[in-house]
């Protein structure tokens, strides 16, 4: 049985009153929803909390699932909406590669940023993008680069998604050039 079919069958069981069937959905999806949340915040505790909240929202909205879209798309869209509200409530990310904000970081944040691996710094740089580009990039790579599924989850046209991805990558590249100069500066200071 395909995973989406299994999820839809479990959803039907839950609606019929078998609450334990929801555990199957949670077990199949826990890693993916926690990972998606993690990619939006890079904070493990917050990511698990956000994923829990997404599961509750999915449970409450299960009766609204009509099977028009794949279960995976429906659940990811619910999770994304839930994460969006939570991140809005949490306030803007403290992490930024913009010089003005980077230098206002507390403690050794700049130092750790400089010392951190380049790849991880690029992933963190995604968090500093404006919301529309950040969501497009995070969901696109989470959905294994499927433009159609990402556009459905975000509720936008494929053309709009492609434009946002292009612009988002450009902004990211620009931020990474700044990062490179900070790292060079950090290395000089260490010598």
């Amino acid at each position: 049985m395909q995973e989406d079919d299994q999820d839809a069958a479990d959803a039907a069981l839950v609606l019929a009153g078998d609450l334990n069937a929801f555990e199957g959905i949670v077990r199949r999806w826990q890693q993916r929803l926690v990972t998606l949340a993690w990619r939006f915040c890079r904070d493990r505790t917050l990511a698990e909390d956000m994923a829990q909240e997404a599961f509750f929202k999915a449970f409450r909205s299960l009766s609204a699932y009509r099977g028009e879209a794949a279960f995976s798309t429906w659940l990811t869209a619910i999770a994304l909406n839930s994460y969006r509200s939570r991140l809005r409530a949490e306030g803007p990310s403290l992490l930024s590669l913009d010089p003005a904000r980077t230098f206002s970081m507390e403690g050794d944040a700049l130092g750790s940023l400089i010392r951190s691996e380049g790849a991880e710094a690029v992933r963190k740089a995604v968090l500093t993008l404006p919301t529309r580009y950040r969501e497009a990039i995070v969901v696109f790579y989470f959905q294994e680069k499927s433009v159609a599924e990402t556009a459905t989850v975000l509720g936008i046209a494929e053309g709009t998604l492609k434009a946002r991805l292009h612009r988002g990558r450009e902004l990211l590249r620009h931020k990474c050039i700044n990062l490179k100069s900070y790292r060079a500066m950090g290395n000089k200071e260490e010598q």
Binding site: Q30, Q31, A119, R123, K180
Partner: protein, 112 residues
């Protein structure tokens, strides 16, 4: 750093393994959620009745009060000193009676 480098880095981001008790924690809270009674819906019907009643009382008061003012004062000379406020007192009493009427009607329907 080229766009290809960025694409490669973002494609190779790891999956995060949730804590071991994550699924059971979620299920515990889901069971609690399922036990809770469904949230009460806003009583639109009762609100509608109330609003219509208020509008009727206000409209009838606006039309009738000027006509009845002199006759009521004529009937009860002792109320002459209250001539400035008696329409408002009348509306308040009428609204109170109508409200109690609605409440009693709902209670009667629930108990029967």
């Amino acid at each position: 750093m080229t766009p290809e480098d960025i694409d490669r880095i973002l494609s190779s981001d790891d999956m995060l393994e949730p804590a071991s008790g994550f699924a059971s924690d979620v299920m515990d809270r889901v069971r609690c959620l399922a036990d809770e009674p469904p949230p009460r819906r806003f009583p639109w019907l009762r609100f509608g009745f109330g609003l219509i009643s208020c509008l009727i009382v206000a409209a009838s008061g606006t039309v009738l009060a000027p006509r009845l003012e002199h006759s009521v004062i004529g009937l009860c000379p002792s109320l002459t000193s209250l001539s400035g406020i008696e329409p408002e007192v009348g509306y308040a009493v009428a609204a109170l009676i109508v409200s109690f009427g609605f409440i009693s009607y709902r209670k009667l329907r629930v108990t029967t």
